[in-house]
């Protein structure tokens, strides 16, 4: 093991289960094409609720990818996590045999905002409908935020650092940073990311109080951040898992280094206080750039949080300008989540996955459904923009006041 501080955390694998694609490859194809999949919510029991539009993961057959023994004890958000983790590990060419000999060198870190709401609702209905004796034992673990971290680690036999970041939507980025710190401290490989499944009746009712939710029922007009029509955000399900690995371990295995996790910082400015998020987000950007040893001018693309309310959009545009100076008005900014919705903690992880793919392909994906920007930003709209992208800045804010920034740099 190398001395702390000399180990660099890199991304070697990507797994995605998103509304616009249930593999990293299909996700990237749809993302760079600017496909929008926002639509009326069709999930069972959700029809009467006032929340009408979301990004749903269609035709995901959990039983095709997860053993029945695990299926009966897990919620949809964990099904997404297990599927994405499998893909990420396969992408990183890490099979069971590769970690079996050193189980303490592999860990898991996830972030979750919604937990296993669908599973929990089913069991709570048994509790109040039939009595406590009819609540199954799996309720004790399935709806818990930590379920996905636990199930991934058990299924893969990972005994290294395993944790869950509970830090609001921005926790998705914090989870990636947490994984990078675990690598710096000596763990060779971590599965890190977030998946959410908040489109079930109970979970949706929990969201109805969010003033930032878009009331617009036309899927093409519901989520249009940075425009004069900005009226809030549209929720989504799904997410992504990345394999975060010690660079030397990755190179020794001969696998491609997809990106370097170069810097991260997080701040907190209070729930719904969007004006204050300007300062908080700017400070997070400065902190992340400082840690990455990266000048503002080196940022080639910004993946915006893009909450979609006028106040929050304005705060973000100003934060980018505050932290990047004159470069903030020239750097391409994108928000591909306008095509798929905002999957809470998983939203910034999907952005991080898209950022890694953008670095690899030299292509900045567009911001679907958005035109006529009313902020001083170079927002990429319409079509993907080819650009020699070496450094990506991913931003995220949570409804409860967390702000986070992550710097990813090209792997080679």
């Amino acid at each position: 093991m190398s001395a702390p501080g000399t180990r660099r955390a890199v991304v070697t694998g990507i797994g995605v289960v998103a509304p616009n694609g249930t593999t990293a490859e299909t996700f990237w194809k749809a993302t760079q094409e600017g496909v929008t999949v926002l639509d009326r919510i069709t999930r069972e029991g959700c029809g009467q609720l006032p929340l009408k539009v979301a990004g749903q993961v269609p035709s995901f057959d959990a039983s095709a990818v997860i053993e029945e023994r695990i299926l009966v004890q897990t919620d949809r958000f964990t099904h997404f996590a297990l599927a994405a983790a499998d893909e990420a590990l396969q992408d990183a060419r890490l099979g069971r045999a590769d970690t079996e000999g050193a189980p303490f060198s592999a860990g898991v870190v996830t972030a979750a905002g919604s937990g296993g709401g669908e599973f929990g609702q089913r069991e709570l209905q048994k509790l109040w409908g039939k009595g406590s004796r009819y609540v199954g034992p799996w309720q004790s673990i399935a709806w818990f935020y930590a379920a996905s971290t636990g199930q991934i680690s058990i299924r893969r036999g990972f005994k290294g650092p395993c944790s869950v970041v509970a830090a609001d939507e921005a926790g998705g980025l914090d989870a990636l940073a947490h994984a990078a710190r675990a690598v710096a401290r000596g763990t060779d490989v971590l599965v890190a990311g977030s998946t959410e499944a908040p489109l079930a009746p109970y979970s949706m009712v929990c969201q109805l109080g969010y003033g930032e939710l878009s009331p617009v029922t036309d899927p093409q007009r519901a989520y249009r951040p940075f425009t004069g029509d900005a009226s809030g955000f549209v929720p989504a399900e799904g997410g992504a898992m990345l394999v975060v690995e010690d660079e030397r371990a990755a190179r020794a295995r001969g696998v491609p280094v997809r990106a370097v996790i170069a810097g991260h910082a997080a701040t907190f400015t209070g729930a719904g206080r969007w004006e204050l998020s300007r300062q908080g987000l700017a400070e997070a950007i400065r902190g992340a750039l400082a840690q990455a040893g990266c000048a503002p001018e080196e940022v080639d693309v910004v993946f915006a949080d893009a909450l979609g309310t006028p106040q929050a959009d304005r705060a973000e545009a100003l934060a980018i300008a505050d932290a990047l100076g004159a470069h903030g008005r020239q750097v391409p900014v994108t928000a591909p989540k306008t095509g798929i919705g905002r999957a809470y903690c998983a939203a910034p992880v999907l952005d991080a996955a898209a950022a890694v793919l953008a670095l690899e392909h030299g292509l900045i994906p567009p911001t679907p459904n958005v035109a006529d920007i009313c902020h001083d930003l170079d927002l990429v709209t319409g079509r993907a923009r080819p650009a020699p992208v070496r450094t990506a800045l991913v931003l995220s804010r949570g409804l409860m006041g967390s702000n986070s920034a992550l710097v990813l740099r090209h792997g080679v």
Partner: protein, 85 residues
């Protein structure tokens, strides 16, 4: 309802509450194999006990969820059901 719990019923419960598929024939042959080897952990067995209690309207002894093998489990729950009948 308080007749004996058969290997067939246990096999069905293992599938339904723990997601573990073992045919009644195989289970009958392997009654001394640990539940763990079938992929049923303590929570899995707890779920089976709960389901049995609801079906038979009888409480099972606390030891039921700690039985290591199907044979020990069936012996215990059946003696409980017999005593209650």
């Amino acid at each position: 309802m308080s007749d004996r719990i058969t290997v067939e019923e246990l096999s069905e419960l293992m599938k339904r509450t723990a997601g573990v598929t073992v045919s009644p024939e195989e289970l009958a042959e392997r009654t001394d194999t640990a539940f763990e080897e079938f992929g049923i952990d303590s929570l899995g067995l707890l779920g089976i006990v709960g389901e049995l209690e609801n079906r038979h309207g009888t409480q099972m002894p606390p030891d039921a969820e700690h039985c290591k093998t199907p044979r020990k489990f069936l012996d215990l729950v059946n003696s409980t059901l017999l005593a209650g009948a």
